[in-house]
């Protein structure tokens, strides 16, 4: 997957893309808190909760394959944590699904719950980032009163990530083209240090050029976001729909 793919997805035009970044950020946060605070045993209810982010994923035209790959790439740490539950909690339990009954341990159930919760919250985050332009996120962060220097830092970081990563990809390609086997830790370390040093020197040179260019354009130490975030009717409608969805989930939780 190319590193700029999420950036390209956020440039689309759907109902979700036109919403205010603050509305999406707050909704994502409330939904994450709701999912995480669910008990460790309610797998069936978690699957009901997954319907919301899945619908948003479909509406926002994010390819399902890309979202699944993204979740799989990020899951090793969670997978290790979840799998450890199987070995430490061996209390026997007998879960039932309709007419089917299974024999399992509480650890297995907890492991599945953790993985499902991870998938749901990650899907929420994927929808948020794939439907929100970075400039809108910056405007929302400014509205959230984040320190000026931090917002500026995030803006510059995002602006140059792709340039430096492209440069690094070139350096890595050059190493691959010249190296056909493992050369031993000492030589590998020396090569890696050389490559990193080269990229660090390139980064500082770029920083010098950018600094001069910014000074020439009258940079006074602060960047004002051009976009002023604005709540609209669509945001209100989305917030009301989300509130109804959460209320329905609470009702289902009582039944399940």
């Amino acid at each position: 997957m190319h590193h700029a793919v999420m950036d390209r997805l956020s440039m689309q035009s759907t109902f979700l893309h036109h919403l205010d970044a603050r509305t999406k950020l707050i909704v994502a946060m409330i939904f994450t808190v709701f999912v995480i605070s669910l008990p460790q045993t309610s797998i069936s209810f978690l699957l009901v909760c997954a319907s919301g982010p899945f619908a948003m994923l479909a509406f926002s035209r994010v390819p399902l394959k890309l979202a699944s790959l993204q979740i799989l790439c990020l899951s090793p740490f969670v997978a290790v944590f979840a799998l450890s539950m199987i070995f430490y909690d061996t209390t026997p339990v007998k879960p039932a699904f309709g007419p089917l009954e299974f024999r399992a341990t509480a650890g297995v159930l907890r492991c599945i719950v953790i993985l499902v919760k991870f998938a749901i919250t990650m899907t929420t985050l994927i929808v948020l980032s794939a439907t929100t332009r970075f400039s809108d996120i910056l405007a929302a962060l400014t509205w959230l009163r984040l320190p000026r220097i931090l917002v500026m830092q995030i803006a510059l970081l995002h602006r140059y990530i792709f340039i430096i990563i492209d440069r690094t990809c070139n350096v890595l390609r050059a190493r691959r083209g010249r190296k056909f086997r493992n050369l031993g830790i000492k030589y590998e370390l020396k090569t890696a240090a050389g490559m990193l040093g080269n990229i660090a020197a390139f980064s500082t040179d770029t920083a010098c050029r950018v600094s001069m260019a910014m000074a020439a354009r009258g940079f006074t130490g602060s960047i004002e976001p051009l976009i002023k975030p604005k709540f609209a009717g669509n945001d209100l409608l989305f917030a009301v729909c989300f509130a109804i969805y959460i209320a329905v989930l609470f009702v289902i939780k009582g039944i399940v």
Partner: protein, 334 residues
């Protein structure tokens, strides 16, 4: 080491958010004071460099197939100073969470504490404490390695504490702490080697990039001790909350199954015990006169741990003052 949402409970995540917000506010204020306008683009681009540097892997001798890469907090702290490094790492963690979905939204506060604030300050304090003079390559390697290892282990310990407080562990806390700290000690040493190699390369090829940074300076020792004291206090307060209310190994051995293994009928021992009970300001880590079932309250255990740490540090400081040799004065009187 990015924590997903599942490792934290909602109250602990909220607490981490509050602490991270306060920490980020303070480091931003410090960075604005210390960093000139021209350095702002450098901070942004070095943040992007950290992203890119994480792509440069190199194979490790063990375990087979494993590879390492630079994490960057200690390198940034050496090059930019701890406050600016913490700001850069905070921005990296926020972008990783919001754009690349690395680390949960709910765990963002915890991740900022573990990956930005702790490594930047602990790493910088340790590095500056043993900072090499120009040309001392071996000492530079040792300083970078120790700083990276300690910073990594400190961050891993904080992660374990946050997870332990959340109550999501099925594994005993001590096992989890040992496993996480052990793994991160190895990662920290590898991080240290690559950080040192990078510093040596830059010092040789582009000394202007790191010129004037990474050297010991007048505030280094003060900063080291301030960081060490803060680390001790936080660890004591947090770990005491996880302390077991069961008897410790010795107490358990003595009182197992109501069978007394050691018996000392001497009246001297009994009167010493009575005197100790009367004089001890916080018997059994609680307020004097507390009922037995109230004794192990988390608040009092934390208070006892922090007070104990402060008293111990004051005692050590007083002892060191007493045993320190008086240096002859460098001033001459005319």
């Amino acid at each position: 080491m990015h924590m997903p949402n599942e490792l934290l409970s909602v109250p602990v995540a909220a607490g981490c958010f509050a602490v991270a917000a306060a920490g980020v506010g303070l480091v931003c204020k410090a960075a604005e004071k210390n960093i000139s306008q021209e350095k702002i683009p450098l901070m942004g681009i070095l943040g992007a460099f950290i992203f890119a540097a994480q792509m440069v892997n190199f194979p490790l001798p063990f375990p087979p197939g494993a590879s390492g890469h630079l994490t960057g907090a200690v390198f940034l702290a050496i090059v930019l100073g701890p406050a600016a490094a913490a700001v850069v790492m905070t921005s990296v963690v926020i972008v990783q969470c919001l754009i690349f979905q690395d680390g949960g939204l709910l765990a963002l506060g915890g991740n900022i504490i573990n990956l930005a604030i702790i490594p930047a300050f602990v790493g910088c304090a340790v590095y500056r404490f043993i900072a090499p003079k120009p040309g001392e390559k071996a000492r530079l390697y040792i300083a970078a390695m120790i700083a990276s290892a300690i910073a990594m282990v400190a961050a891993a310990a904080m992660l374990s504490i946050e997870t332990g407080l959340s109550g999501v562990l099925a594994v005993p806390f001590s096992h989890f702490l040992a496993a996480i700290c052990g793994i991160h000690l190895v990662i920290g040493i590898i991080e240290g080697v690559i950080t040192a190699a990078l510093l040596v390369y830059l010092r040789k090829m582009r000394p202007d990039v790191i010129d004037g940074y990474g050297q010991a300076h007048p505030g280094s020792k003060r900063m080291f001790f301030a960081t060490a004291i803060a680390a001790v206090l936080i660890t004591a307060a947090c770990l005491s909350l996880l302390a077991s209310d069961k008897p410790d190994g010795l107490e358990y051995t003595i009182g197992a199954d109501g069978e007394t293994i050691i018996e000392n009928p001497s009246p001297a021992a009994a009167s010493a015990d009575n005197l100790h009970d009367k004089l001890a300001p916080m018997p059994d880590y609680s307020r004097p006169g507390m009922a037995d079932n109230d004794k192990v309250s988390n608040g009092w255990t934390s208070f006892a741990a922090v007070t104990g740490s402060i008293i111990t540090m004051l005692a050590v400081w007083a002892c060191s003052r007493l045993i320190r040799r008086k240096e002859p004065s460098q001033c001459t009187t005319q």
